[in-house]
Assembly symmetry: C2
Homo-oligomer: 231 residues x 2
């Protein structure tokens, strides 16, 4: 049985979790709490020497990096591969292109905003440094606009007409700023429609994976002004 190590507060952990559940790939859940430092334990360091989540252990083979894990799962469980990562070379190339692009863009900039606006202030018990937050927000908004204008240019999903693994990777990052009170869909109608579309396709596993995210959002930004409250 494959072991899956994850923390559902981490975007890539959620992406692999949704993928595993959606495709009914059997696994032993091994949740870790990053806030408790459990990813730094001696035991987990043997699984992932970089001390990051997610990771899998499959028949004695350890693998880290969510995108590599998703590709591996598509190969090892071929009943899921064709739907989420089609064998057509050009579609695969477009999926890969997004999954490579996102590291330094959606992944990095949205996470950075979340950290400067929310995580660092909460952990240190201080007010956010507004100059740093503004800088992160600028960078994040450039990326969000590129996502809407370039990746969603005349296509309902990142790689074309159908949902693929690239959309799972994308939406897990796109939800993150909402925990810091920022609604990425505001003023971005194509992005709003896209998120609704992807989310609907991924239910009910999506809501299960996002339970903790919803809880944080409700606690800090609840009520009528909650980001994505209408999604």
């Amino acid at each position: 049985m494959m072991k899956y190590y994850y923390d559902l507060m981490s975007q890539p952990s959620r992406a692999c979790y949704i993928f595993l559940k959606k495709n009914k790939i059997p696994f032993t859940p091994c949740p870790l709490r990053i806030t408790k430092g459990e990813h730094r334990s001696e035991e987990y360091t043997k699984i992932n020497p970089f001390q990051l989540v997610p990771a899998i252990e499959h028949n004695g083979f350890n693998l880290t990096e969510s995108v590599a894990i998703l590709r591996y799962l598509c190969r090892e469980f071929p009943h899921v591969g064709e739907e989420w990562y089609p064998s057509d070379s050009k579609i695969q190339a477009r999926i890969d292109e997004y999954m490579e692009w996102q590291h330094l863009n959606t992944r990095m900039q949205l996470a950075m905003y979340f950290q400067t606006k929310f995580i660092i202030p909460k952990m240190t018990g201080t007010e956010p440094d507004m100059k740093t937050v503004e800088r992160s927000q600028d960078r994040m908004e450039t990326i969000l606009d590129q996502f809407e204008e370039i990746w969603l240019d005349n296509r309902p999903y990142v790689a074309g007409d159908k949902i693929t693994v690239a959309d799972i990777v994308a939406i897990c990052e796109l939800e993150q700023p909402s925990m810091a009170g920022y609604d990425v869909t505001e003023g971005r109608p194509k992005l709003a429609e896209y998120m609704k579309r992807v989310k609907k396709h991924l239910q009910p596993e999506y809501d299960e994976a996002f339970e903790q995210v919803y809880r944080v959002r409700g606690r800090f930004w609840g009520g009528e002004n909650a980001p994505h409250s209408k999604l």
Copy 2:
């Protein structure tokens, strides 16, 4: 005929260039000079709306992101695939793992050091801000140590016993700080041996792709103290 858009001062451009040349994949070279802003032209923006290099145009199909390009080439030109990106699922997973890991690590941190120590001062005609340089250097050294201790732990190449596409991606980033006068091999004997090994395997295409890098290195850090002078 495939068109290849690149600037050999860019690490990922060099990686794809070496791969194309080494495997005798025919292409029309379309060099762009980033310092002249040629990547921002209207014409090139149609090829790559993100205005970055490298990119390819193959039978009317445009593709960006070096890692996605390398995988695409392995599929489209199967005579090269097995050697550089073997079909074995676990080896492929290990290669993917590195190629995903590198974005926020070797790629980002080494490039950041190069920018703060060299590019920004040269472009603005000012002295490097030593506090920023020190911070970048710390981050870069953490990554270089991880590369040596984790990626090169008991294996001659990143993905195991044989050279793969992951090593081409790796070495093109590892050479970059030398242009800012920093020798990544200093105090890292395993990394030094690794770089020698990979470089040797990639000759003579390697030296051809690095001609401009060598020239910059020679001009600013020439003589006996040149980084990598012994490689």
